[in-house]
Symmetry: C4
Subunit: 276 residues, 4 copies
């Protein structure tokens, strides 16, 4: 298992080409946020926008439209139960993230299965939070897309049956290959990333960031990075590293680091760590 270092940032975050437009930086579609967990999809969306994804649309419960726009007019919105909007937006996206605050009821399951039918092999699909639980609970067949799972340890247990105490690198890597030819971001106080081309240990991170919404924010950053940067594995690794490294920087003066505080740092952090 290799250790992630700061080098992943400059390797991934390209200097933006002068001749470009918002389409150059990708379309992201973020799906989640039921009436109770709306904050999760707000944080994921903000993370994608502040990472620099060119166009961002949030498919969520309509009760979340106003709070999202009050915080972030830069994102577009649609009702996640509107099949025609879902179909058009998912199909047009470079990266789709599903799960933050999605919930696990029949509506959530219906949306997830529709998304699985809509995505294709050229798209990156990030499966996070409630969506992981739904895949595990209903033993859903996975679609042919560039898959990224972002479970915490309990969600990984649900998905693979491997108990937390038994989640060794070998067991995890074996489970990943059995699950799919994609990437697993296994979140813990030291996050590990299992990819088709190798496994990585993230050495950044602080207990100051052990607070609700941190995972939603990471999912949104992975979305923003994969939408912009060509090498999808590098994009995932750079997002994981950056997310916790920003937390480390803030934790030099804060007892707790809130997800929205990490998001605010993204534009300057990415500026400082882009390709030289």
């Amino acid at each position: 298992m290799k250790q992630l270092t700061e080098a992943i940032l400059a390797q991934t975050i390209r200097v933006r080409p002068a001749e470009s437009h918002k389409g150059t930086y990708g379309r992201v579609c973020l799906i989640g946020g039921n009436a109770q967990f709306g904050g999760a999809i707000l944080m994921a969306t903000e993370a994608s926008v502040y990472s620099g994804a060119g166009l961002n649309t949030t498919l969520t419960d309509p009760s979340n439209f106003v709070s999202l726009h009050a915080r972030l007019p830069e994102a577009m919105v649609a009702d996640f139960t509107d099949q025609s909007a879902l179909s058009a937006l998912v199909t047009a996206a470079n990266t789709v993230v599903i799960g933050p605050g999605l919930g696990t009821d029949a509506t959530s399951l219906d949306i997830l299965t529709k998304v699985f039918r809509l995505v294709s092999s050229k798209q990156t699909l990030i499966i996070d939070g409630s969506a992981i639980t739904l895949v595990a609970k209903h033993d859903l067949a996975l679609p042919s897309a560039q898959l990224v799972f972002t479970p915490h340890q309990m969600e990984w247990q649900r998905l693979t049956g491997i108990k937390i105490a038994d989640q060794t690198d070998d067991a995890n890597e074996t489970a990943r290959t059995q699950l799919m030819n994609g990437t697993v971001v296994l979140k813990s106080h030291q996050t590990k990333i299992y990819t088709p081309t190798g496994s990585y240990l993230n050495t950044t991170g602080t207990p100051a960031q052990a607070t609700g919404g941190m995972g939603d924010t990471l999912a949104g950053m992975i979305a923003g990075f994969t939408a912009q940067f060509t090498n999808q594995t590098d994009a995932i690794l750079a997002a994981v590293y950056a997310h916790s490294d920003i937390a480390d920087l803030l934790a030099k003066r804060q007892y707790v680091v809130l997800p929205t505080q990490i998001i605010q740092q993204l534009p300057s952090y990415m500026y400082n760590h882009q390709h030289k």
Copy 2:
């Protein structure tokens, strides 16, 4: 009566252990906010989140969901009249705070009595604002939980029958033991805390903080501190001290200190005053 000093902070605010996750820092359930007083539960929730509680859910009137998420996507929400949500969330919490902006009508009373039935002796229950008035008015039997009352002087009078002019330390301490084996935070320009292990005078505080919402903020901080720190009495004392000490710091350059301004300072203040 002992004087609270800054020492309570370092004694209480532990350095966070490296191997931890959001569950390590407690689950807080905040209940209040009717249609008129929604701001109160927003401030209580923000105070708990910015104190570092790991997971925070606000049970409130649905008309407050959007304003809460527009300010604070980090918290989850549920309808305080949804019995099944109330039951699940209260039962799962380490700390429950009820009262900020709850109101005193039949709905408010119904929610309060349900919470009293749901909590158990291992949980901390903070009874604030309207909930104190309801207990007094309806002479409610108190549940078996680790109780914290946070009355201002008039609410204490309602609860105990002791007129403000007669609220001596002895009278207050006697009333506390008659009421319960818990803690009373008696708020005034010099807040006093009566606990099972002794009484304390808070010497921090400024008239600049004499403004609406200050008590709601304190209730939320006590929730955040008790959810994270083991010694519940110390957690309460540290929250009271910190709340007014931050106000003192801001009052060095502000004529009035708003509750939301205190909340913003919590992450850096707690960093500076954690255990050395």
Copy 3:
């Protein structure tokens, strides 16, 4: 006509007494904000809260509750068509401000006439914006309260029949005494204040503040100042001076000064200019 100077600030903004509570700093009731002009009552309310008024309730169209709380959880809200709430809240207030964004339709008129019936001679009533137009249009009899009118020049013309070109100090003062034994804040690029004890010219102010919402903000500041400070005339004068002086300070680095930017400065500005 005397010129207002900075001396009015230290003369008015008392050092807060140590033994005090939120009630010491007054109850303000702000009434206005229909569906179209909701922003006006939001700015008035924020100005009152940031001035340091102890307790603030906004009576407005319910469609404004969420935007108000998203910005300012410190204020309470009620439906301005709820007669029982209106009656209880107006009666309990030290200062009532009516008019910002109230509109001029039948509902607006109904609310205004109810407020006129509710107020009493010990209360300060600030009549602003649409409420001035309603008084003029319907030739309403004025209630017995400590009245403050805050017209701009066109509203003053509507109220008194004096055309803008004819609004000389003598004509204005004569019109004031005919209208009532109260105060007129006649807003223009050089605001003049006609009071029962003399007339004043405000020398602060900048064209950078010539933007929508500035008057609503001033009305809220007058509310906050009169609720806290004993001498009502001084409170009005100090609010007018401070409002434009803060704008002058911001205009040293801004081409336009927005109302909400003035509001943010109030706590530090009042700290710097309180009684020495």
Copy 4:
């Protein structure tokens, strides 16, 4: 084709006259924002307000009222399907901008055609985003007003039939004169402006600003500038230059520059670049 330089700013942004009021700085009416694209009209409105336009009203889907006021109480709102409000507000405006987030359905088309009937030759009408697509799709006759089109290259192709690769200066200028006697702001990584008195190349701008909402923000700035400054062509040119120059300044420390971050800089930027 002339190159735009910083000189356009001092030439356009006049020192505000001392004797002035909010009416001096123009009335702007901003029309757009359906349920899905509400953020677009929020950003346009914020840009107009922060540019210093005296009075701003946003005609939009009512679902956007709360998010707009939560961000910006300085603006007034009305339902864009309310014919009487539309008529009154458009008629009273100095500058009308239509299009940001308007959508392209039957309601959008109905609003656009009404606006085309309402405007007159003394008003500036900025046609942006969806409104350009509607004009192209339905081959709408243009009204007699001071017209400004703000297409990106694909929208310009829709409007004129000129493919992006064929959009030479000559072809664009010819198309402009065939379309109308107004101005075209053709947005790309190097925006060009075709006016009745000459063509201009904007040399400011950065790939950091290639993100959703940037065009909505520019439309709002053009609205704010044309409402305040006499020479309409100069106002457009100055807005285009300033919009990208602020982005350049922010891009010295940010990897991505968000539209709302540009807006925040307007008051100080305009202060620094006004007429000496």
